[in-house]
Point group: C2
Chain length 85, copies 2
Amino acid sequence: MSTFKAHINIMPLEALLDPQGKAVTGSMTNIGLPEISHVRIGKHITLSIDANDKKTAEGKVEEACKKLLCNEIMEYFTFDVEEVK
Amino acid sequence: MSTFKAHINIMPLEALLDPQGKAVTGSMTNIGLPEISHVRIGKHITLSIDANDKKTAEGKVEEACKKLLCNEIMEYFTFDVEEVK
C-alpha cells in the first residue's frame, strides 16, 4: 500500500459568470493594478489517498470529485496525483 | 506588450486548522472513500496580465496576492505565470 497526494482544481464553468471573480477584477483597478483582468476564482484542494497503485488512486480522486467536491452543473475539475515517497 | 496568464493557489497555512477540510475528510468515510484523508481546501485563481515581459507580470501577480487575494496571516500563496501566444 502506498500513499499518494492529489492536487485538485475546481473552477466555475467557462460558460458561467463568476460574480466573485468579476468583483475582484474590478478591485484590481482600485488597488493600482489595471493590467490584471479576467479573474476567475475556484477551489484548490489537496488530499492524501492510500492505494495500491497510481491508477487506483486516480479513480478514488475522480469519485471524490464527482460525489462530493465538485458540483458539475456549475463547475469542472482537473487534478494530478503523485506518489509520496 | 504581451498577455500572460497566472495560476495562483492560496492555501490555509499548514500550522492552522482547516475546519472545512476537516469536515470534508470526515465526509469521505460516509461516501465510501475511507482511503482519502488530510483534505485541505483553499482557493485557485486564474487571471490575465498585460505586461512587457514575464518578470514584470510575476511582480504584478505577487503584488495582487499580497494586497488583495491572500490574507497572509492565515494563508500562503504559490503561482506560476505563462505567456499566452
